[in-house]
Symmetry: C2
Subunit: 227 residues, 2 copies
């Protein structure tokens, strides 16, 4: 069984990515960030998913992206609501967190190197997404090339890091169908950027809109609670 580090946000995409990695024969090590996000509920979701999937190890690590700000997810900026699909595709929204995936992947790279693992899984998606630059295939390829120069593997030359992004070309509907076929329990996942105090999803932020459209496409009901 090959070890793999899985970036586990607690959302729908990372839960599906974890199921795919396990189905592909990897032993997954989950990595979650408490980074000052306003939707802290996703951290609890990541723990439930890690338990349900019997992860060997799950690290929840604290970093302070609020110190830099610049995003509606870490700063006092309103989360946009009720945006149409065409608006979402137009420009990079205020929910973009500067360099977030680069920071997450860098920590995953550190852990992979210590575990002597060559495989990192990330649930990014370039179809039904919010227009974030660090979700694009060309970014992922570039990170992988850098990762192979950054580490011992790059010097010894006997290992090669792969950044797996199994969802990158799938629609949200396809992701959900795939996850259901693999037994993912989507009731454990959390996607909303702006949940109420009880953790119920708003149903109106970009993340909720994309999620709801995905369940509609997959022809099944979303099992989580909305306000």
């Amino acid at each position: 069984m090959k070890k793999a580090v899985i970036l586990l946000s607690g959302g729908l995409d990372s839960a599906t990515t974890l199921a795919i990695a396990q189905n592909d024969g990897f032993t997954p090590y989950g990595l979650t960030f408490s980074y000052g996000q306003r939707h802290q509920f996703e951290i609890g979701a990541s723990q439930k998913i890690a338990e349900a999937c019997n992860l060997t190890d799950h690290i929840i690590t604290e970093i302070d992206l609020r110190a830099f700000g610049g995003s509606a997810l870490t700063d006092d900026i309103d989360v946009p609501k009720d945006r149409s699909e065409s608006t979402m595709g137009g420009s990079i929204p205020v929910t973009y967190v500067p360099a977030r995936n680069t920071i997450f992947l860098s920590f995953a790279l550190a852990w992979a190197e210590v575990l002597q693992s060559n495989d990192i899984f990330l649930g990014v998606n370039s179809m039904d997404y919010s227009g974030y630059p660090d979700c694009r295939p060309e970014y992922i390829q570039s990170f992988q090339a850098m990762a192979n120069l950054a580490t011992k593997a790059g010097v010894d030359g006997d290992q090669s890091i792969t950044i797996h992004t199994p969802l990158i070309s799938m629609t949200k509907g396809e992701i959900i169908k795939k996850g259901l076929a693999l037994g993912v329990d989507y009731s454990l996942t959390h996607s909303c950027y702006d949940p109420d105090k009880a953790g119920n999803a708003c149903g109106r932020c970009d993340s909720c809109c994309i999620r709801l459209k995905g369940f509609q496409e997959a022809g099944t009901a979303d099992p989580i609670n909305y306000t």
Copy 2:
């Protein structure tokens, strides 16, 4: 005045890099990591340097690299002492911290994006160094290429991130001469991996050996205290 993010460890190289950035006309924003390193004294050194150089802003951010381990600097592994220069060049030593520069640069990239700065300074050096993969020019070039795809700049195409490494081809002696010419106060810097409780340098770890050789080459005495 253009803003620049400077990775400031508290060591000799980053203090010199900061002086070069200021001399080149940049307004520097210092970024220091408390990452669980055994030589916590360098954080205090970074504060003294930031004060002496009148930095507009200096963020000291906490991350937990001990959670991953795998290095003599973050784990219960002895720091090697009294190694000859030929031994140092031989292989990657146990003081290597997996993916450390990648993690540091990722945070710098986040802050640069928020500050709308296109410039990041890092005091890596590929001449008198300990054989770390993430100090090599090919690694830096690759990180820069990735950074330009990771951020808004990479989508809008109207900005371009530069990772400045002004020391990369200099010997330690040349770095010290350059710093002295720019007025760097090396008595404020800390390089030792394994200082005593009072913060005095051991004089025997790789970092001390390289530093002492550098001052010898520069023809001047090292102003810090050794045990």
